[in-house]
């Protein structure tokens, strides 16, 4: 039978029907919870806004706004320098971690374990306060001037810390590229360095993108602890402002700034990921 003839037009067209009415959603416990929680957030936001507006004090804003700005810049400088230095330092560590040499592997494994297994705060205190015990030795080699400054110590500690985390990211990303890629390149007679640079690295970088973004966000959040060793970053300026004014709004402003930075970064990263993986989308 010919399929083209199977269709028989109806004698008359069915008149247009109105869309079926959506049955009203029944009220149940889940909905009540949902509405209650939304109401809670609205109340919190409105109360916070009202409080910030009624408590608006031009003198205070004029006095502390530039300091907050400087604090923000300190945070961003500290984090960006340590992320870059950490990225450079992480490459040899990741290489050692993936090598077959047991000594190299053991050393890099212990390094990564030490820095990932302990709190950043303990590392920071150990470097800032602890190295003071070796003042004479450090003076002898001329490093005391560097370690005397809290900012340098923070930079040093953050770099070592993030290098350990980034080394693991790099290792995971390179390992995620299937072995066949190496073998295929070898079969084509491409040497290992070229293979890594042109075949493995581009694929690994896409895998590493998301963890790198998370690491940067973690560093921005983690950097708040430098306030405890007298570096005046955003958190440090906040603490100073609070200790002078006893105005709790100082912390709310800091929270807003941190949220804005983290959200901006998160969105940039989402966009980057979308952009860089668009060839993978079918």
């Amino acid at each position: 039978m010919n399929h083209a003839q199977a269709y028989v037009a109806p004698a008359e067209l069915i008149p247009e029907q109105p869309a079926p009415e959506i049955a009203g959603k029944p009220w149940n416990a889940t909905r009540a919870w949902g509405y209650g929680l939304i109401l809670f957030w609205i109340v919190v936001v409105v109360a916070l806004a009202a409080w910030l507006i009624t408590g608006y004090d031009p003198a205070k804003i004029e006095r502390y706004a530039p300091r907050y700005w400087n604090g923000l810049l300190t945070t961003l400088t500290l984090v960006s320098i340590s992320i870059v230095l950490g990225a450079i330092l992480s490459l040899p560590i990741a290489y050692a971690r993936m090598s077959d040499n047991r000594l190299l592997n053991g050393i890099s494994y212990s390094y990564v374990y030490l820095f990932r297994g302990t709190p950043l705060l303990a590392q920071l205190f150990l470097i800032y306060y602890g190295l003071g015990s070796f003042r004479e030795q450090l003076e002898a080699v001329g490093l005391w001037l560097f370690f005397r400054d809290a900012w340098n110590c923070a930079l040093f500690a953050f770099t070592l810390n993030t290098a350990a985390y980034q080394a693991e990211i790099v290792r995971g990303a390179v390992r995620s590229v299937p072995n066949g890629q190496w073998e295929g390149a070898a079969a084509l007679g491409i040497n290992r360095l070229q293979t890594f640079r042109k075949i493995i690295a581009p694929q690994a970088m896409i895998v590493a993108l998301r963890p790198y973004g998370n690491e940067i966000i973690l560093m921005i959040k983690g950097s708040a602890i430098v306030a405890l060793i007298t570096v005046f970053d955003l958190m440090g300026e906040t603490r100073r402002a609070f200790s002078r004014t006893f105005d709790f709004q100082t912390y709310i402003y800091a929270a807003i700034f941190y949220l804005i930075i983290v959200e901006i970064l998160r969105n940039i990263w989402n966009w980057l990921e979308k952009r860089l993986t668009r060839h993978l989308v079918r």
């Binding site: 889940t30 909905r31 919870w33 949902g34 509405y35 929680l37 939304i38 809670f40 957030w41 030490l114 297994g117 302990t118 709190p119 950043l120 705060l121 303990a122 590392q123 205190f125 150990l126 306060y129 602890g130 190295l131 003071g132 015990s133 070796f134 921005i220 959040k221 983690g222 950097s223 708040a224 602890i225 306030a227 405890l228 958190m235 906040t238 603490r239 609070f242 709790f248 912390y251 709310i252 800091a254 929270a255 941190y258 949220l259 983290v262 959200e263 998160r266």
Partner: protein, 236 residues
């Protein structure tokens, strides 16, 4: 004074003070864990709910507490609760000498942070459960609550376990922050010892090693738990 006297237990040494710090750190982490797990679980339920208002409010919660530095969350909870409670007390006519316990504040703050990360872990575990598991449960006549409790939850916990153990390690490290609000944990106790004895490297080094030991001990326990979870597969 030599090193062994300094870290001995007793009047001369700081061993007992530091041991107390270890106890505080461990008990804070252990007390935070159930709070964070329970909160995180309910937030994960809210995030996969069909009710959009629940989803949105859960998203707001995690966005805020994953975006704020842990230290700032801690300060906001500690000072915020203190100021809030004092104002309520003053409004009700009490004297305003009420102080918030640093342990409780630390527990709440760390629990909130933990729960917002844990909710993501639970959520992805929930998504890994095939729909057929629910449907099979309904087909044999189990009510929704029992399907959740007897069919879905055991699988969710198993899938979520690696993520949760990661979060436990992070929680353990985050407890160091409570030293900033005056709770006598490892960092604070060793810090006091360092200031009094002027042996900063020794005592902060001890703090460093203690955290390392705690991490090692936890990984041993976690390995046990993972083995326990895998015993069903080994039997086959």
């Amino acid at each position: 004074m030599d090193v062994w006297t300094l870290i001995s237990f007793g009047d001369q040494g700081w061993g007992d003070e530091i041991a107390w710090g270890v106890l505080v750190t461990v008990s804070l982490a252990l007390a935070t864990l159930p709070l964070g797990l329970a909160l995180g679980f309910f937030i994960a339920l809210a995030k996969q709910s069909r009710e959009p208002t629940l989803r949105i409010s859960a998203e707001i919660y995690t966005t805020i507490f994953r975006g704020l530095p842990e230290l700032l969350t801690l300060f906001i909870i500690f000072f915020g609760l203190q100021i809030g409670i004092q104002q309520i007390a003053r409004a009700m006519g009490f004297s305003s000498g009420i102080e918030i316990n640093a342990f409780v504040a630390g527990m709440i703050a760390l629990g909130i942070v933990f729960s917002s990360y844990a909710s993501e872990v639970f959520l992805s575990a929930f998504r890994a459960i095939p729909k057929g598991q629910y449907e099979g449960g309904y087909a044999v006549g189990l009510p929704h609550g029992k399907v959740m409790r007897l069919v879905v939850l055991p699988q969710v916990i198993k899938i979520a376990l690696p993520g949760l153990t990661n979060l436990w390690m992070i929680l353990l490290k985050d407890t160091a922050l409570v030293s900033a609000i005056g709770l006598s944990d490892i960092v604070r106790q060793t810090g006091i010892a360092a200031r009094v004895t002027k042996e900063a490297f020794l005592f902060y080094g001890i703090a460093f090693i203690l955290f390392l030991v705690l991490a090692l001990l936890s990984s041993i326990v976690i390995n046990r738990i993972e083995k326990y979870g895998e015993r069903a597969e080994q039997a086959r």
